[in-house]
């Protein structure tokens, strides 16, 4: 009870910047709720999605965020398998980021559904859960599993830390080990949703899942690096430079793989240009004069290449200002590449050759921003509690 009161007290007290941040998040969420009401009332016609492009901005965000969630493993492996002390301190924050990202994923999928009030049709026994036939059913399963796994690890860890009791290693160790393949599995299964469709040659490629993982290990840690520095500046929580640079090094490896996979993909499509190249053409050079994604994907490539060079040179990788620049570039680059660059061209041209130039409208963008705000809110709340416990502020406040 004391602890709960302390938590509430921690959450409502904070600097002016903290309160402004919360106000902003709540404002964005409210806007999204109003627009979501409109969407559920009138139907998905209020978005720019149509029959030829039946998945749009929501699913693009979902795909990108699964990668961010999976990237928590980038901290878990060095912390627990290689006992990197600096990263051990921050692994908890990585898991909290995973919780927020998976929550956002689930919200994005739900708002994309035409009849979200029927979600319970996915519950086995009550509805028909088409498992293991449908890979989408697998995704529902692994995403929820990963969410609850991380929720448990975080709450258990924090509780033990608060009560000053040692961990039950026999309970925690297998779960931590399990969280590693679980993280890989959420992004693999999400990739398999796209890969398993012979109707869409753009996605029906074996390289897709490995490339998903490679790009996830760029974008997730890049976001982490920036968030950690914000936390370090605004709270008494300590993050060592050593840990930050280690994460930067991991991003470098991941980005080199991501670029290599991109070359493999483009070679396969371009060396002998079969009819299946239409979507790749639409994305990179435009198809029959339809080229609205072209500037986006070239920007993404430029961002990724610049960031890769910044990370490759030790001098710029080991300097916070250039490291941060690289992180921002990578986050934006992968967001374009894994979001609109992956989802939209898969539908254009459609399976019977129809071109529908999809681009999200204002409503979709505002709703998505609201979902991001909700994710940020989850992260802020959980991180604030975690930091208060870790720095002993919560206990001090209770006394």
């Amino acid at each position: 009870m004391e602890g709960l009161k302390g938590i509430i007290r921690t959450l409502v007290t904070g600097s002016r910047a903290y309160k402004l941040w919360l106000t902003l998040l709540f404002a964005l969420i409210s806007v999204a709720i109003v627009l979501l009401y409109k969407q559920s009332d009138q139907g998905l016609i209020v978005t720019n999605m149509r029959d030829p492009v039946s998945w749009g901005w929501y699913i693009a965000n979902f795909t990108f965020l699964v990668g961010v969630a999976a990237a928590a493993v980038v901290l878990v492996v060095p912390a627990y398998l290689y006992h990197h002390e600096g990263i051990k301190d921050i692994v908890l924050l990585g898991e909290i980021m995973a919780i927020s990202a998976v929550s956002m994923c689930l919200i994005f999928v739900t708002i994309d559904m035409g009849s979200p009030e029927r979600f319970w049709h996915l519950i086995p026994k009550i509805g028909i859960f088409n498992f293991p036939q449908s890979i989408l059913a697998w995704d529902v399963f692994v995403l929820n599993l990963y969410l609850f796994l991380n929720l448990f690890l975080v709450t258990y860890g924090l509780y033990k830390m608060y009560t000053d009791k040692p961990y039950n290693k026999k309970l925690i160790w297998p779960l931590i080990l399990f969280s590693i393949p679980a993280a890989i599995s959420i992004h693999t299964v999400t990739a398999f949703i796209y890969v398993g469709l012979p109707s869409r040659p753009f996605w029906n490629a074996a390289i897709l899942a490995p490339r998903f993982i490679a790009s996830a290990f760029c974008s997730g840690p890049a976001l982490m690096l920036i968030l950690f520095q914000v936390i370090r500046k605004t709270t008494r929580f300590e993050v060592s430079d050593r840990a930050l640079f280690k994460v930067g090094e991991i991003i470098t490896y991941a980005m080199s793989l991501n670029l290599f996979f991109l070359i493999s993909e483009l070679y396969k499509e371009h060396y002998i240009e079969t009819a299946h190249i239409a979507s790749v053409e639409y994305l990179w050079s435009g198809l029959h004069g339809h080229n609205q994604l072209v500037p986006w994907i070239w920007t993404a490539l430029a961002f990724n290449l610049t960031a890769f060079l910044l990370l490759l040179i030790p001098k710029t990788r080991m300097k916070l200002s250039t490291l941060n620049l690289a992180c921002i570039l990578i986050f934006a680059g992968v967001y374009i590449e894994k979001g609109m660059g992956l989802v939209f061209p898969g539908f254009i041209p459609s399976t019977l050759g129809e071109i529908y130039d999809y681009f999200p409208n204002a409503l979709e963008l505002w709703i998505s921003l609201g979902v991001w705000a909700a994710g940020m809110l989850i992260f802020t709340v959980l991180a604030k509690i975690a930091i208060a416990i870790k720095t002993g502020e919560l206990k001090a406040a209770g006394k």
Partner: protein, 297 residues
């Protein structure tokens, strides 16, 4: 004393309950219950459609040499199956092609309702070939495989059926379908009441639909509406299990192909291509019927 308290409490609870249940919420709760019961019912079979006839396997053949692209099938299907006025094409799309086989070229989907495209309606040209496409009712249907709730299923008579009570509107089936045969209800159904067919359920917004091979007719011994209205008899529908049926004979004797069958979908529509110099009628094309929006060229 205790009893009285409980009675009081129950009364209070009932009153607050009624107060909380504003019409909207009451509707939502009622709808939820209705759905729950319909879903439980659906576990024991889809009650929207008649049961399959034992021993029958339906299939369709379309004679490309006889199709003149008049779109009668498209309009008739739309009326027959209570397809809402939409910015999406109806369940049947007719392509105009340069060559004799296959689909070539690209075309642009309308941005706004009413804009229309060439695949909706076009001037007929004798030097072009026309190819109608619709749901192929594949034996190895990708849409059935990917559906997370089992709303799309393969029935014994070869039809791929959607249980409208189970569909959650995730649209994964639309992504998986190689034939662009599936339509999503982007908005609330817009159908003028005078053209409602009582045999076909009206689909509300947020769920997916597609060609049913006129399940409400064919399972009651009639043929599909598109076959009925085709003036050149380019469409042939029948039982593939019966070796003497016209469709079985045509597939066995005439040169034919199936659309994208390399994808291992085992489609149930055969396109006949060997028909040359068959007697055919060049009817004047029908203008889009009045009162159906979204079809204007």
């Amino acid at each position: 004393m205790k009893k009285l308290n409980r009675r009081k409490f129950l009364k209070l609870a009932a009153l607050t309950g009624a107060g909380l249940l504003m019409p909207r919420q009451a509707n939502a709760v009622g709808g939820m219950l209705e759905q729950l019961t319909s879903a439980l019912r659906s576990l024991k079979g889809n009650k929207d459609v008649p049961p399959p006839i034992p021993g029958v396997k339906f299939g369709m053949a379309i004679d490309l040499g006889l199709c003149i692209g008049c779109r009668r099938c498209m309009y008739a299907c739309k009326r027959e199956n209570n397809v809402s006025d939409s910015i999406s094409p109806p369940w049947i799309i007719v392509f105009e092609t340069e060559s004799k086989i296959g689909i070539e070229g690209y075309y642009v989907h309308p941005k706004k309702p009413g804009e229309g495209t060439t695949m909706m309606y076009t001037k007929l040209r004798r030097d072009k070939w026309y190819m109608p496409t619709q749901c192929n009712h594949c034996d190895n249907a990708p849409c059935v495989q990917v559906c997370p709730t089992g709303a799309s299923y393969k029935d014994e008579d070869g039809l791929v059926v959607i249980d409208y009570n189970l569909c959650i509107g995730c649209r994964y089936c639309m992504t998986a379908c190689p034939y662009q045969a599936r339509r999503f209800n982007w908005w609330k159904p817009k159908i003028s009441p005078d053209r409602l067919n009582p045999l076909v359920p009206v689909r509300h917004h947020g769920i997916v639909e597609k060609c049913t091979f006129c399940i409400h007719r064919t399972r009651r011994g009639k043929t599909t509406r598109c076959v009925e209205v085709c003036q050149n008899k380019a469409r042939i529908f029948g039982n593939l299990n019966d070796p003497d049926s016209e469709i079985s004979r045509l597939i066995a004797t005439e040169r034919n192909f199936r659309l994208k069958d390399k994808l291992n979908t085992e489609p149930r529509i055969w396109y006949l291509t060997s028909t040359k110099n068959k007697p055919m009628v060049w009817t004047t094309p029908l203008p889009p019927p009045k009162g159906i929006r979204g079809l204007e060229s």
